[in-house]
Symmetry: C2
Subunit: 391 residues, 2 copies
């Protein structure tokens, strides 16, 4: 059933025959599985295939828009957001509000986020969706249980049992690092039709967020700390970094360093972008130099990992027109053993919403990955309505 | 059967009961499989288990020393070598000779290597072993078919169809990059009891060879070019590198740079080591600086990949006493998000033989990984002796 759901998630205008060809099962087996998914309301029929195809036209199948919804929530340094996506990955409900979260205390932040998320869950339910799980994106280091924030320096958090504290929603809660979710969003929703499976994803809010996707999976490293591009040395004798070392990428291309170099004192990325659009020489020079530093660090990553591409996403994508020349120049010179082309650096199409959509879609993927568990749960609820989860 | 062979390869004094516990099969199934492996001569009984264990003592099983042999061959810049290892990974035959291979031409090099390897194969057969395959280690970039050397700059080779040219041995031949084989040797034969599965392996002959092992497998990257530590930028404004970029690790810690900085004009690593042992200040300073550069590049790799350890192997291990202080100092300062300890940098116990043993063991692993194919081949040969492979 997961294979069938996966084939429907990946394709458009898919028939039973096409699913069978895709997943390597017999037409009869696929029909049986599809019947179960239709009965459970996870899949729907959309009428006959377009004429012009060979043979008897099949019925086009699609994932439902009215079944499970994945909930995503995001804790930024100066905003909170939540959204619900359906099985197709489309955003159905979205809420966002500014919030000064730095040093505010986890309790207050989580209470406000829980209220915002509760509204989104209620609206999703009112729209006929069944929320299945909440994934919270945090700019910090997450424990291996995916429930605890070990450390989020930009929020001032240490050892926050987020999933437990976030309760009261009747939904399971998972916590994940925002850079990882940005990369997964690119993998799942970036519009690459499953062809982009090995890449380095770079984004930035305060620090430099990066994550590695290898063979279509997040690459976490032996202890879950992989992807720390921000502390790759660019110039070992360079400026002191907040991590204690010197010359890390963050000291050249982190937001704080970038704003200081550009002489932008109020506002953040948006103010820097405005200065660049206006042709301010300090802003242009700062972005050029940050782009070169990013390219130097990425050259090391590409030489080590040999990914298909580097993807620039998140807030950093807004600054891409000014950063990318430096990034591409350094990669062209420094990547050995393969011809690195300018087009191997991609700009994400997901914009600022990547992390939030990645969080919500990772929630709904629990149903895509195990539809049988969802169906069992439906059956159990029908037998004993009080025991169910969901709203 | 592969699971049983794997359990025997990993453990000592293993009984049928221990194999069953290890691989999660019933005792009866394991006994049946062991009987087939005993009949095929891949496994042997070594008498009763030591007293002191609980319950009825079992019979200790071991991989045979007299069955298949893996053949390894190595093309260095100034030497050729070949060896045979048995299923236990022990070197049974070994031959080596000096050879000035740089710019000598692939035909001459391969003819000499084929003669050397032929002697090793003949001696292995005379010792009652059955050679199964030859793996040739080359300091260069290997094509995805593992038959062609795409580029080996230190030999002056381009597009050499090595596996085809190396024929006439009656054995299949595979070609692999020497740095990859060094890392695999560490994984398989490094004495880590299967606990070291995620590491960066650094060795060096002329360039800096490195390879990544992730979850117990070689990490090759999207196009097979992963592990290029030698061209990770250390100081982007540094010396011009042979690759065309500037400030790559190789310009600080590659053999040529190191010998020049140390003022060693004749001899290679051994001469440098002698100078260091004698306390020559230039040699000590050169090694200290190369160690620091290696540490800077490795910090980037560790921050990106979060391996369990970094292993220094190959000829580089000889220089470890002088290189490691700088390596460890830079890693201690620059690795973020986890406490990096001095003991997370290991020195390989395999010494200079790592690459060659890795090549030979990767040959014999074809039997460990698929004993059924070996047994089928034996049966076919018995039925039609003329059709068999092996000598």
């Amino acid at each position: 059933m997961a294979l069938v759901m996966g084939a429907l998630a990946a394709g458009e205008s898919v028939t039973r025959a096409a699913v069978a060809a895709e997943v390597g099962l017999t037409r009869a087996t696929v029909s049986t599985l599809v019947d179960e998914l239709l009965a459970a309301g996870l899949v729907e029929e959309q009428g006959a295939q377009r004429p012009g195809t060979v043979g008897r036209p099949g019925t086009v199948l699609a994932l439902t828009e009215s079944g499970p919804a994945g909930i995503g929530a995001e804790i930024g340094v100066d905003h909170l957001a939540a959204c619900a996506v359906d099985l197709r990955g489309r955003v159905r409900v979205r809420a966002e509000r500014p919030a000064a979260n730095r040093g505010r205390g986890a309790d207050a932040v989580l209470a406000e986020l829980a209220a915002l998320t509760g509204d989104v869950i209620a609206q999703a339910a009112a729209a006929g969706l069944t929320p299945v799980r909440t994934t919270v994106a945090v700019p910090g280091l997450i424990g291996p249980d995916h429930g605890t924030v070990l450390r989020a320096p930009n929020l001032g958090w240490e050892d926050v049992p987020l999933a437990a504290a976030f309760g009261g929603q009747d939904l399971d809660t998972a916590v994940e690092n925002e850079a990882n979710l940005g990369a997964l969003a690119e993998l799942w929703l970036g519009g690459h039709d499953g062809r982009l499976t090995d890449f380095v994803h770079v984004s930035a809010e305060i620090g430099i967020g990066a994550a590695l996707v290898v063979e279509g999976r997040l690459f976490r490293g032996a202890r879950g700390f992989a992807g720390e591009l921000g502390h790759v040395p660019v110039r070992p004798e360079g400026p002191r970094c907040s991590c204690g070392a010197t010359g890390c990428l963050e000291t050249y291309a982190g937001e704080e360093a970038l704003l200081r170099a550009a002489g932008v004192t109020t506002g953040r990325g948006a103010a820097l972008k405005a200065a660049a659009v206006a042709g301010d020489p300090s802003a242009l020079r700062a972005l050029e130099e940050a782009g070169a530093a990013l390219g130097i660090a990425l050259s090391g990553a590409v030489n080590l990992l040999d990914p298909q591409a580097v993807v620039v996403g998140g807030p950093l994508a807004d600054l891409a027109p000014w950063l990318l020349p430096g990034v591409r120049r350094e990669l062209a010179v420094r990547v050995t053993d393969r011809r690195w082309r300018a087009q191997d650096v991609l700009i994400s199409r997901l914009g600022h919403d990547g992390v939030l959509r990645g969080a919500a879609y990772s929630s709904v993927r629990t149903v895509l990955d195990d539809p049988a568990a969802w169906i069992r749960n439906l059956t159990d609820q029908a037998a004993d309505p009080a025991s169910g989860t969901g709203s």
